[in-house]
């Protein structure tokens, strides 16, 4: 185990976070709020600690997948703990477990909140909450890779540990350039959304917060009814951008390059839009009686579908009140999630496609017992190790799901609440149904349950294995005798 590199990366992450604290600090100045001081103090302390532990000159540059996984998991935990402290210091969320839940929910782009009254928060803390979505969306390690000149080909292990999806590839030969391109696309799309929101007359502060939340597919609103009280124009813009941020970023890279047509041929992206389209139609027909006309129904259906499949978690209406069919579609979308290589969470469309193909392959084996059929994605054969890892991912996913539900049942809530609470946090969505529906919050749970859900959020964002590896004793024993 290469401890020196782990410390180095964690230190750099702390320094990066203290830089991020400048945003709430500046906001605090603009609005003349005193909460900014807390952020500045925590930022300064975190910068100093980060500098001290990462300034050690001699560190081993060679590391492997296990270190990559551990580094990413540790970085995210440190990131969340440090990010939570200002909430406690300002007294807005006095309890540390609550503050941690809120911050993890931010960084993992979940958007689940324990706050009873969001509107009472200071602008400073509101923008920090939303900004954690933006940083967590594309990943803090990816950001680090983009700005930190690090030699060696081992950084790929870091990228793989943080990026969502079954297969993580590079866009260009150099990893650092890949990370830069990803962040540039991300930044450009964020700016475009912000400008369009201003154009449809959204207040600047609101537009900024909502854009951060959309880009990272997070879902923290700044109003009690999420996006319900904004105009239709704003809701439509946010719908479109939520769906766009759920697309595999490889597609945007292809769009920028020479082979523009290939972007429309990515199998996952086609399925993604297919699912969205089908879900919108079903829900619109199902809920048309609940609204004054079909267009309003369509708007609400599209917004909720886009919000849930991309695991954003904004809402314009209380979909917990919808008929059962629509609620079931919503639950399916929660599990399905966005495309791999996007900022969204969930199981990911590509995994769903591969699982479906596996089922058909298995049926085929009963018809032709000696038949040989390979599973293909985008015209390329999926190798056995990839298939195995996807199947094991699903198993692990279900196991963590079941254990979490089991632990939540201590609260003695109904099945639907617990089931969707895990779905909403594990898939990084935000709102669930019933007691944790879009107009409710997670404060009903005990501190123990909140910690379980916090773990689920981190495990879901980092695609299970980094968090599991962090708690396996074996990983810490490697090379200890040296």
């Amino acid at each position: 185990m290469n401890y020196s590199i782990i410390l180095y990366i964690v230190g750099k992450v702390m320094m990066l976070e203290s830089a991020c604290f400048l945003i709430p600090a500046v906001t605090s100045l603009i609005y003349g709020e005193h909460e900014g001081m807390a952020y500045l103090i925590v930022g300064a302390v975190s910068a100093i600690i980060g500098y001290l532990i990462s300034s050690k000159k001699k560190f081993e540059n060679v590391f492997f997948a296990r270190e990559g996984f551990v580094m990413v998991a540790l970085s995210w935990i440190v990131l969340s703990v440090v990010g939570a402290i200002p909430f406690v210091l300002t007294g807005e969320i006095p309890n540390m477990v609550d503050a941690l839940f809120e911050t993890v929910s931010g960084f993992t782009t979940t958007g689940a909140s324990i706050l009873e009254d969001v509107e009472s928060l200071s602008h400073t803390s509101l923008i920090w909450r939303s900004f954690t979505h933006w940083v967590g969306g594309m990943g803090v390690i990816v950001l680090l890779l983009a700005i930190l000149p690090m030699a060696g080909g081992y950084n790929m292990h870091l990228m793989k540990a943080e990026s969502p999806g079954p297969v993580v590839g590079k866009l260009v030969p150099r990893l650092r350039d890949t990370a830069k391109i990803l962040y540039l696309i991300y930044l450009a799309m964020t700016v475009i959304e912000f400008v369009i929101l201003l154009f449809v007359k959204m207040p600047v502060f609101d537009a900024l917060c909502i854009t951060f939340g959309t880009a990272g597919t997070g879902g923290f609103g700044i109003k009690a009814d999420s996006l319900g009280s904004y105009s239709y124009a704003i809701q439509v813009v946010v719908t479109v951008f939520m769906i766009l941020f759920g697309v595999n970023f490889n597609a945007y890279f292809l769009l920028l390059g020479k082979h523009k047509k290939d972007a429309f041929k990515i199998e996952e992206v086609r399925w993604y839009f297919g699912i969205i389209f089908a879900a919108i139609i079903i829900i619109t027909i199902n809920i048309r009686g609940y609204f004054e006309n079909i267009l309003t129904a369509l708007n609400h259906a599209a917004f909720q579908v886009g919000s849930i499949i991309t695991t954003t978690g904004y809402s314009t209406t209380d979909f917990d009140l919808w008929p059962q069919l629509s609620r079931n579609v919503i639950i399916f979308l929660m599990m399905c999630g966005a495309c791999a290589g996007s900022t969204g969470g969930g199981i990911k469309v590509s995994r769903i496609i591969v699982m479906l193909k596996s089922v058909f392959q298995e049926i085929g084996y009963y018809i032709h017992p000696r038949g040989v059929k390979t599973i293909k994605m985008d015209g390329k054969v999926l190798e056995k190790p990839v298939l195995t890892s996807i199947r094991v991912f699903m198993l692990t996913y279900i196991m963590i799901y079941v254990i979490s539900m089991f632990l939540l049942s201590l609260n003695n809530f109904d099945f639907e609440t617990n089931f969707t609470a895990v779905a909403a946090t594990f898939n990084n969505i935000g709102p669930g149904l019933a007691k944790v529906g879009p107009m409710a919050n997670f404060n009903i749970y005990s501190y123990f349950s909140k910690l379980v859900l916090t773990f689920d959020m981190l495990a879901g964002r980092l695609e299970l294995y980094p968090m599991l590896l962090l708690f396996s004793p074996g990983v810490w024993r490697i090379g200890k005798d040296k």
């Binding site: 032709h368 017992p369 000696r370 038949g371 040989v372 059929k373 390979t374 293909k376 054969v381």
Partner: protein, 452 residues
Amino acid sequence: MQIIIVGCGKVGSTIAEQLSAEGHDITIVDTDEAVVKALAARLDIMGVTGNGATHTILEEAGIEDSDLLIAVTESDELNLLCCMVGKKAGAEHTIARVRNPEYSQDIGFMKKELGLAMTINPEYAASTEMARLLRFPSAIEIDTFGRGRVELLEYKISEGNILVGKSLIDVGRNIKSDVLICAVEREDEVIIPNGSFVLQSGDIVSIVASTENAKDFFKKVGCNSSGVRDTMIVGGGTIAYYLAKQLLPLGIKVKIIEKSYERCEELSAMLPNAVIIHGDAADKDVLLEEGIEKCSSFVSLTGIDEENAFLSLYAKSVSNAKIVTKINRIAFDDIIEKFDLGSMIYPKHITAEYIVRYVRGLQNSVGSNNVEALYRIIHGKVEALEFYIKEDSGMTGATLEALPIREGVLVAGIIRDGKVMIPNGKSTLQRNDSVIIITRITGMQNLEDILK
């Protein structure tokens, strides 16, 4: 003609023998001295020992004065290099054998950029022959020309057929099939018809069409065109791959039985719509499990002739399938033919046959600079000429309707970037196209001769 053949394997020696017998001057080149000597002693030809891709050896073989260089060694890359060197050193035309499927989609590019007159892929050629056998019922005869790329389907119009009494314009209007009726045999005469020509019963029409269109056409005229519905292929080699590739788009279900698991995976990746079975076809149960009794065609393509023969005999005994058998060795053909093995395909024979046909086409065109090749088709009564358009002229750019084309002349095919197109009135000619003309008028020298 002066012809140099590089590579004296089975194909090389077969070609040398046939072309020498047809009166060409042959020089063979091979690295194996014993083979060269043996062949040079048996046939009236010259032999050079050495690497045929080197300039020195080709010069020794007389490349400057040669009309044609044929490279048929075992290696694709060597054959291509050989043709490139040969072309630069002065060979008029070059032919290379390229069999690797990875190169097959580059053939058009290679022909254009490397100046190859023809490439031949033995496995592909064999699979094309097989696909022809499976695609059409026996009522239809098939003739090919234009280096095997253009197919002529002959079909006899019987009493009561809906085509009887129709003019060709009516045929086009009523049947709405994109086919070209390019010749009609009536009694002993062959006619190149125009639009007002009226068909009678007893006529044998020759049509040029793409496979899909031809199928459609035969269906509409009531000729039971359903060749086969499905096929079971035993042995998943390159021929099986090419065959499946040709049959699948026609809606024929393909099932391939292959022994090696790795090869099965490869095939499954390359042919997602085919059913790939991992098993030993020598095991009767495998064949029965996969429904050999019900299949409508059976193709045995394993690497062992004896196995193919037995498999075909077994298939014949349990089913009514159309049987195709691949035979590699030609030595015992007289005995093999006594068995009822259905249609037999000899890949090496086909390769040699294609090349020899091309050389004949080339031979016919000697003396004219503009005719690329000349074939005599329909029992030698009609000429099919291939012209290459080197530069823009009055004929390029205009639609065929607008060109004043002579009576009895038909533009039957346009070859652009290695692909054959069946022209209609709206088609245009472009630079670098090869144009195939069918005519009864002899002595055409230029493409302009087809105009009034």
